[in-house]
Symmetry: C2
Subunit: 460 residues, 2 copies
């Protein structure tokens, strides 16, 4: 193993790191459908979005033409604190699988937020500060995004208000404490601090909260407090733009060692990691310069790509956000309570949805027991305890590598290892105790979600 | 900041990684005192140790002469999974402190065990496997060492039995689950699986356990089961030998950028990190080739260097281990229950004790509230949430950098960032809630510990 010329880990030098984000939309012939105003059914204009979002981010959100956005120097400096992330050759996993496939992963977990979320958090916090704002608000479920945003805000001296789904606030006290250590205020949602929170508490006194409710509270606080805006960690076009750093670094690292991947695999919840990982490779594919097999992996219990509808829907269960055209299970769809693997968003990034619709990528749904089996195998051979989300990609990477073992093909596989599982040990415990089960929604379950899809004025 | 020539992080290439460990004892004029048999008071011979420890490790333990030990290829390959660890220039911290000092840290936390412990765990597991053993036993308190050993054993296909102090087993279920995910069996101690455990449970039915008791159980299982040996994560000479990888990498990285540190700072519990970090630098100092200011940092609540006695003592509270000559507070000394910062071992590595006794390094004791203040400051500027242990070194590094601000000196400071604090959030929560307090043992507290120092046959 030690004789190999390609090292276990490829790190870019700092002067090789990307200095611009890549806007994949600029290379798409079929652009993603525009966000709509749910009241009028008309495409949203910048001025409708700026009371909620930072100006520069609204501009990035709506911009389908600019191919490269220079990364501001302060963000580049912050990136250097935890990037470049390594492109790892999984020699030990290859050996354990006895496969002729070459497996690589881009590991985004080597930072305290534990995931790739920090790539966009620092960008969004930077533009908020640049606009002269005092702070930002957001929601968080498990806490990965909230942690990333807290870190970015601490670095820039920006106030950070996080509404954390109450059940997570109580059951995941460690994530909460990380955010507090970074100076964020963390409020269990629903709270008495907002009108919408008070209304929900009155109607459902014992509720443990939901992401939709936390979004509504965060948006209300942002809109009502001068100097505050709301930020979001996935789904949006701007987030995919910032996350392109993952793919850009990966491609440069491959160029350094003279390798080209054949298959690119990423887990997909809202799409922030997958969209970032594949961006430059998909760009080459769109421009006809190269071909790659690109596979999105989602939980069988929340199968937006594989069983969802391509339709306009709300991004939030509270139905206060703009309408986005995407693969969706309906904003009222909630995965079975036994689901422990993350990626529980009902919809999917509009950019990725369009690409999938156009046949430029595939999707696979996998069951969580098989995901945790893959996670355990990976941990024991490659050392890193992976996040359950990331383990969806591991599962399919292992499947593909084992196919190569059968066919003898020496494919080069790249997958995104989005983060670590250090705060997901309740799920691992369930798996270790043999108490994890699978649930695949029935057609009736899905029909109930689809029934809630909004009617868009002027469309039928 | 971006104009600096020295990058934020210096990574060695894989072919620049050390291929041999450095045995500091070979360069010491005053060798550390030998381990004694507590019954006879005579230096222990290899054959007295091999029923408990692996043969090759006993040989390393007793060897004062061999300067370099080639690192077996399989261990080198494992190291490449998570090493080289970066030598980080703390530009952001320097800026926040507005200091002319140049601050560097060697970051050992980028692996799932979360600390440097893995460097010795893989070595000890390797030699156990090489000897044809079936497995190893050990004890763990907070779980860092147990996790590291589980990872190493999973990689090598070795059985791993961990006795975890019962109170930690119950209060730190996440560490326990990481170990289980890596296939280790984790038993709360005291248990009914051993004679000593049953005896203790009978005498103290409600006991929550202690490290001393867990050691006794682990040793009993190792001795009674053919094909098993006991392994330990700190204090021992062999551990410092393996941990020299930290200092060797750091020195090579400094050579690459043409920098020499003036001050080297490390936290010290049993001494595994500090001994490894300083090894090659102390070697230069011993050989008269260079001079460095070397500072060991310990908790004021467990001050073995600064207030302990240099005497023969048991390494364990159960008094079943050999006697080691070291700075010690007495094997019955237990830090105040309000102590949350780790580094709670009553003694100190015999190698470091001898060096300290000979005036080759200094020691400072710091109070935990100031340690967590330093941890928070570091987290907010450098991004990484540090382990409480590591934060002792951060505290003194910041102190030294602020002194430079006063004097205008441009000193180069290196400190060891041994690990991350992701499993220490109960302590952080206490700090965030303003409920952390300090306690410095009184002279009477210390006198009680010293009273328990053993009488060594033939010495007075």
């Amino acid at each position: 193993m030690s004789e190999n010329k390609i090292p276990y880990k490829v790190y870019l030098a700092e002067n090789e790191m990307p200095t611009a984000w890549y806007n994949l939309r600029a290379d798409m012939k079929n652009k993603p459908a525009p966000l709509l105003n749910p009241g009028t059914g008309l495409p949203l204009k910048a001025e409708e979005l700026t009371p909620i979002f930072c100006e520069e981010l609204v501009q990035q959100e709506l911009d389908e033409d600019t191919k490269f956005y220079p990364i501001p120097q302060e963000i580049q400096d912050f990136y250097k604190m935890y990037r470049p992330s390594p492109l790892v050759r999984a020699y030990c996993l290859e050996k354990a699988l006895d496969t002729p496939a070459k497996i690589y992963y881009k590991f985004e977990g080597n930072n305290t937020s534990g995931s790739h979320k920090l790539n966009s958090a620092i960008a969004q916090a930077y533009y908020a500060k640049n606009q002269g704002l005092k702070g930002v608000t957001t929601e968080t479920g498990a806490g990965q995004w909230g942690t990333a945003l807290s870190m970015a805000c601490a670095y820039l001296g920006l106030d950070c208000k996080v509404f954390m789904v109450k059940v997570s606030y109580e059951q995941k006290p460690f994530r909460r404490e990380v955010m507090r250590t970074y100076g964020a205020s963390v409020t269990p949602s629903p709270s008495t601090e907002t009108e919408v929170g008070r209304r929900i508490l009155e109607a459902h006194p014992g509720t443990t909260g939901s992401l939709g409710c936390a979004i509504s509270e965060a948006v209300e606080v942002a809109v009502k407090n001068p100097g505050y805006r709301y930020v979001l960690g996935s789904v949006l076009n701007q987030v995919l733009l910032h996350q392109s750093i993952i793919g850009l670094e990966a491609r440069t690292a491959f160029d350094k060692i003279g390798v080209k991947p054949d298959v690119i695999i990423g887990c997909a919840g809202g799409g922030s990691n997958l969209g970032g990982l594949i961006a430059p490779f998909m760009g080459e594919k769109l421009r006809g310069e190269a071909d790659y097999q690109i596979i999105a992996v989602e939980p069988a219990s929340c199968p937006s790509f594989t069983r969802g509808k391509y339709a306009y829907d709300f991004c939030d269960t509270g139905m206060i956000c703009p309408l986005a055209k995407m693969y969706t299970l309906g904003s009222s769809f909630i995965p079975s309570p036994n689901h422990a693997g993350g990626l529980r968003f009902h919809g999917m990034s509009p950019v990725l949805s369009q690409l999938y619709h156009d046949g430029l990528m595939e999707a696979r749904a996998v069951e969580q027991t098989s995901v945790f089996e893959a996670a355990e195998r990976f941990a024991r051979t490659e050392g890193i305890l992976p996040a359950p989300e990331s383990s969806h990609a591991i599962k399919v990477a292992i499947d593909e590598a084992l196919k190569c073992k059968e066919t003898g093909e020496e494919k080069t596989i790249l997958f995104g290892l989005t983060g670590t599982g250090y705060f997901d040990l309740v799920a691992y415990q369930k798996f270790n105790d043999g108490e994890m089960s699978d649930y695949i929604p029935t057609d009736e379950d899905l029909a109930r979600g689809f029934a809630g899809l909004p009617k868009v004025p002027g469309m039928e």
